[in-house]
Structures are given as structure tokens and as C-alpha cells.
């Protein structure tokens, strides 16, 4: 039998709006911590100004977005806190397609992340303006987009990890340990190839470093001269490539969430 009068399912717009609000609430504590750091940064800049009698300037540059882009990898863990694959019962029991629901929540987190990056650059701009620092005049326009695209890609990679594993922290930590271990052993015969592969993924022409730094002149790394020659097309290609990988992994994770 099928009941004549069924309860309606919620509209996707209502679900997305509620997810946006609830993710904002979930990230409130992390937001307060980030705000605290910015407040401390403001105090530190103020003290620098005071000590230098107003001569310490604070420039605005896109490289300042690098740490934020890397941190974006961790944001999904805050978005889904308390809701690992084994404890996602409530989310999955809602009258919404599971994959679409996971996508809605993750994209809400992405929207908050983008706002956080914008807020961070707003703070940097304010600090530069107040201290008379350079407002980034020597940078190409595309370099101001890099922090946002990099943060978005890193966020999606983090989301894929968080959706499919119960312990994303362990996977990230394990990955870092493996990376360092490979680096230590790189001089040993037989592991050089592995190191080269890892190095290509991270520091290669189209590697994560290109994605995150935009190959800007001030970026750290031992390939300084190579970076000096960077052009927008290289960054664009790296970004497209990493975005495609991140979106594919994210969608795969959203549609193949484990049953627990």
C-alpha cells in the first residue's frame, strides 16, 4: 500500500539554507579562535608600530594566503565534527538524498571557508592601510585569486577524506609521517623514485605548491629561479588539474559514504 497523503520532502533550497546556518554554528568555535589570532596579530602590529615610532609598515600580499589555504584542508573536520562515518546517523536519517545532503553540508562549509579567506584578506588590507604598507601593487591580478582557489581545492580534498574515513586526522598525520620518512630515505637506493614522485606531486611544475602559492616570487622553496619564471597559465593549469582531482574525489566520497 502507499498512503494517499504523504508528508512532503523538504526543498533543496531549504535544506541548503539550513545547512549553511548549522555549519556556521558548527564552525563558530574555530571562527572565534581564528578571530582571537587576528586580534593578537593586530596587537603585535600595533606594538611594532609603537616601537618603531610608526615606521613599521605591514604590506598586503597574496602569499599571506598560503597558510590559510593549507588550513582549509582541516576545515571539513570541523564541519563534520562528531559526525564521522560511524556517527552520521542523524544526517543520513533526514529526508534528503544522502549524497546531495553530504554535498550540501560540505558546500556550506566551503562557502564559510571562502568568507573566512575574504575576511582574512580584509584584515590584512586593513592592517596594510593603517600601517602605510604596500597594497600589493606589484602582483599580477590572478595572484589575488590564488588564495581562494587554493583554499577551495584544499577544502574539497579535506572533505573527501572526512567523508570516507572515520579518522581523517590519522590519515593526514600518517601521510605527513610517510612524506618525511620518504624524504629521510631518499638517498637510499630504490626509494629515490618514490621521493621524486612525491616531490613532483608537491613541488612539481603543476604540484600542490604551484596551486597554493600561485608561483609568486616571494614563495618559499628551493626552486626559486623556476618560480620566478612562473606565468598565469601554469598556475591555471595546475589549478584546473587539482580542482578536477579534488572535485572527483569529493563527489566519489559523497556518493560512496560507507555504511555503518
Amino acid at each position: 500500500m502507499e498512503s494517499a497523503v504523504l508528508n512532503p520532502v523538504p526543498g533543496l533550497r531549504a535544506v541548503a539554507a539550513e545547512q549553511f546556518r548549522s555549519v556556521g554554528l558548527a564552525l563558530r568555535r574555530e571562527g572565534l579562535v581564528a578571530g582571537g589570532f587576528l586580534a593578537l596579530g593586530s596587537l603585535w602590529i600595533a606594538q611594532m608600530q609603537w616601537n618603531s615610532m610608526g615606521h613599521a609598515s605591514f604590506p598586503l600580499s597574496p602569499e599571506a594566503g598560503i597558510p590559510v589555504s593549507v588550513l582549509a584542508l582541516l576545515v571539513p573536520m570541523a564541519v563534520w565534527k562528531g559526525e564521522g562515518p560511524a556517527a552520521r546517523g542523524y544526517h543520513r536519517a533526514m529526508p534528503v538524498n544522502h549524497a546531495a545532503h553530504a554535498v550540501a553540508r560540505s558546500l556550506s562549509g566551503l562557502a564559510w571557508t571562502m568568507m573566512a579567506v575574504a575576511g582574512y584578506f580584509g584584515w590584512l588590507a586593513a592592517m596594510a592601510a593603517l600601517t602605510g604598507g604596500k597594497m600589493g601593487g606589484e602582483y599580477a591580478p590572478y595572484q589575488w585569486v590564488v588564495p581562494f582557489t587554493a583554499a577551495a581545492v584544499m577544502y574539497l580534498l579535506g572533505s573527501a577524506l572526512t567523508l570516507v574515513t572515520a579518522h581523517p586526522w590519522r590519515w593526514l598525520g600518517g601521510g605527513m609521517v610517510a612524506f618525511m620518512f620518504t624524504g629521510v630515505l631518499r638517498t637510499t637506493d630504490g626509494t629515490r623514485g618514490l621521493w621524486d614522485l612525491v616531490n613532483t606531486v608537491i613541488e612539481g611544475k603543476y604540484g600542490l605548491q604551484t596551486l597554493i602559492s600561485g608561483m609568486s616570487p616571494g614563495s618559499p622553496g628551493e626552486f626559486g629561479s623556476y618560480m620566478q619564471n612562473a606565468v598565469a597559465s601554469t598556475w591555471l593549469l595546475a589549478t584546473w588539474m587539482w580542482a578536477a582531482i579534488a572535485i572527483s574525489l569529493f563527489l566519489f566520497a559523497a556518493y560512496r559514504q560507507p555504511e555503518r
Binding site: 500500500m1 504523504l6 523538504p10
Partner: protein, 305 residues
């Protein structure tokens, strides 16, 4: 003896056929034919690990079956999961649903956004009767309070089907009584079908009108309460020295007990027929009484195949 495992023809809010679910090498459900009549309060009883929670998750479309079919209000939960879940009020077995950063009131708002027919006055009334504090953080609730919050979430959109997994677990006696009263009122008001999974049958005794017994992933019995009441009885009889039993009844004896010359058997079958058979064997019947739902569940669960 074969206990009834099918309710026959009728209008079922829930109907599964040959439902099978495996987790790796473990088989959690083996050919389950669950039939929950529309408007019934069906208690699914079984020990921990019997497959009750897995059954409920299959009904919600949270798991994919490895075999067989599922129909909930006429819909396949795998094909129409969101529509099925919109008709269901679900109380999960586990309380760790996340959202610990929300207040209870905010969680209710969150939930309401998913159910367009959410009834706020009813939700507030439920929260008041279950003594749910709206300002408390979800992550800091006790097990019993979490259960009460889940009950509010499950009922406030007046769903036609309630799936309650150990709904009284963690509730103190007063709150358990209040909860059962609320459920009874809810059923009376809405005509909802209720499927309660529990291993604490006595706590939901007064609500149940159907019983399903699950063991090792199989549904070993499924029947209306009145059929159970009529057919499963405890017989107390005195037997003569050297009494060798009643081979004809052996297949129908669900549980044997007794001390000395007094036997106490739980037997499935027509009371007059059983009494006559016992008398013919030389036993003197002292009394034959129906079992309480809990006793019946214990007897059926402890039955040796």
C-alpha cells in the same frame, strides 16, 4: 512445531520479503519476512546482535539490502529514500548523532527545516511533557535526556510511521511511563504505525499489539498479540512417578521446567487439545495460564530449535 512467521494477507505499513543483509563475511539478516500491519504497534524483540537495528536501518534506506525486498508505506526505501524518511519518525539506538554544539532548541529548529509539516505547538508540548530543556547543549545531555530529545524529534512532525530503536533505554521509570503515555496518545491521535525494537519487552508491554521475535538474523515468530495469548500457555501439572513425558506434545513444547513431580511447560497449541493430551499421559493438570508478553518473548527467545 512451527510458530507463525507470516501474518497472512492484509494492509501492511512495512513488508519485507526474504530480506538479507551481510557485512563482510557476517550475515546480519537471513531471509526476513517482516510484516507490520498499518496502525499496529509492533514490538520486535531479540537479544543484542539479533539484527533488529539492521532491519530498522534497511527500512530507512540507510543500508542497502543484499537480497530480498523492502516496502515501507508501499515504497522501496532504496529507490525513494527521502520520501520514505519523510514519513518516518526515527529514534536511533545510539545517541551519538553529533550536533553536540547545538542547543536542544536549535536542534529542534534544524530538524523542523527538514519536515515541512513540523508542528511547533506539538513539539513544545512534547518537550514540556518530557521535561526537555531547550537551552541545554546537545553534547552535554545524559543518555536518558538524549533519548527524550530524539522522541520529540521523531514525533513532532506527526509521521505516519514511527521506528523506535530501544526507545525507553536510559529512561527512569517516571519518564518511561510518561513516554509510553505520549506514544499511546500519538497513536490514538494520528493512527500511526509503530515498530519498536527492544530487548526490554516489559517496558512496552502495554502498547504492543503484535510481536516479532528475532534471533540470529532470522524472524522466528511473528504474530498478533491475541494469537499469542490464545496459543502460548504455561501448563502446570503433577505427574506420576515414572512418568516418561508426552511424545505427542514434544514438538509443541517451547520451554520445559518444573520441580520434582510438578512440571511447568510452555506449550504452543490449542489449550483444550494440550490439556487432553496431558491428561491422557497420566498428568494431572493444575492450571493453564496465558503468558505475559515479556514471558512469552523470553520463552520464544530461549526456545531450542
Amino acid at each position: 512445531m512451527t510458530l507463525p512467521v507470516r501474518l497472512g494477507d492484509g494492509t501492511f505499513a512495512i513488508a519485507t520479503h526474504d530480506l538479507t543483509k551481510r557485512f563482510g563475511r557476517d550475515t546480519a539478516l537471513r531471509g526476513v519476512d517482516l510484516q507490520v500491519p498499518e496502525g499496529a504497534v509492533y514490538v520486535l524483540v531479540g537479544p543484542n546482535g539479533a539484527g533488529k537495528t539492521t532491519t530498522l536501518k534497511l527500512l530507512l534506506g540507510l543500508y542497502a539490502a543484499d537480497g530480498g525486498s523492502v516496502r515501507v508505506l508501499g515504497m522501496d526505501p532504496r529507490a525513494r529514500g527521502p520520501e520514505v524518511r519523510a514519513q518516518v519518525g526515527y529514534v536511533p539506538e545510539r545517541g551519538d548523532w553529533g550536533y553536540g554544539y547545538m542547543s536542544v532548541g536549535r536542534l529542534l529548529e534544524h530538524h523542523a527545516a527538514y519536515f515541512p509539516r513540523w508542528d511547533w505547538p506539538y513539539a513544545m508540548s512534547l518537550a514540556q511533557r518530557l521535561d526537555v530543556g531547550l537551552d541545554r547543549k546537545v553534547g552535554k545531555l545524559s543518555k536518558g535526556m538524549t533519548r527524550r530529545v530524539h522522541l520529540v524529534l521523531a514525533m513532532a512532525h506527526r509521521p505516519p510511521l514511527l521506528l523506535l530503536d530501544e526507545p525507553t533505554d536510559g529512561l527512569d521509570p517516571v519518564m518511561r511511563d510518561e513516554t509510553l503515555g505520549l506514544l499511546a496518545e500519538h497513536v490514538a491521535d494520528t493512527g500511526a504505525t509503530v515498530l519498536i525494537s527492544t530487548h526490554l519487552v516489559h517496558e512496552v508491554d502495554r502498547l504492543a499489539d503484535h510481536l516479532g521475535v528475532m534471533r540470529d538474523g532470522r524472524l522466528t515468530a511473528q504474530l498478533p498479540r491475541e494469537v499469542l495469548h490464545q496459543n502460548l500457555r504455561r501448563y502446570r501439572a503433577e505427574v506420576p512417578a515414572g512418568w516418561t513425558g508426552v511424545p505427542r506434545l514434544d514438538a509443541n513444547v517451547v520451554k520445559r521446567g518444573g520441580v520434582g513431580r510438578e512440571i511447568q511447560w510452555s506449550v504452543w497449541g490449542d489449550e483444550r487439545e494440550v490439556a487432553r493430551t496431558l491428561a491422557e499421559s497420566g498428568a494431572t493438570l493444575r492450571d493453564a495460564a496465558p503468558l505475559t508478553l515479556e514471558d512469552a518473548a523470553v520463552v520464544l527467545l530461549s526456545r531450542k530449535d
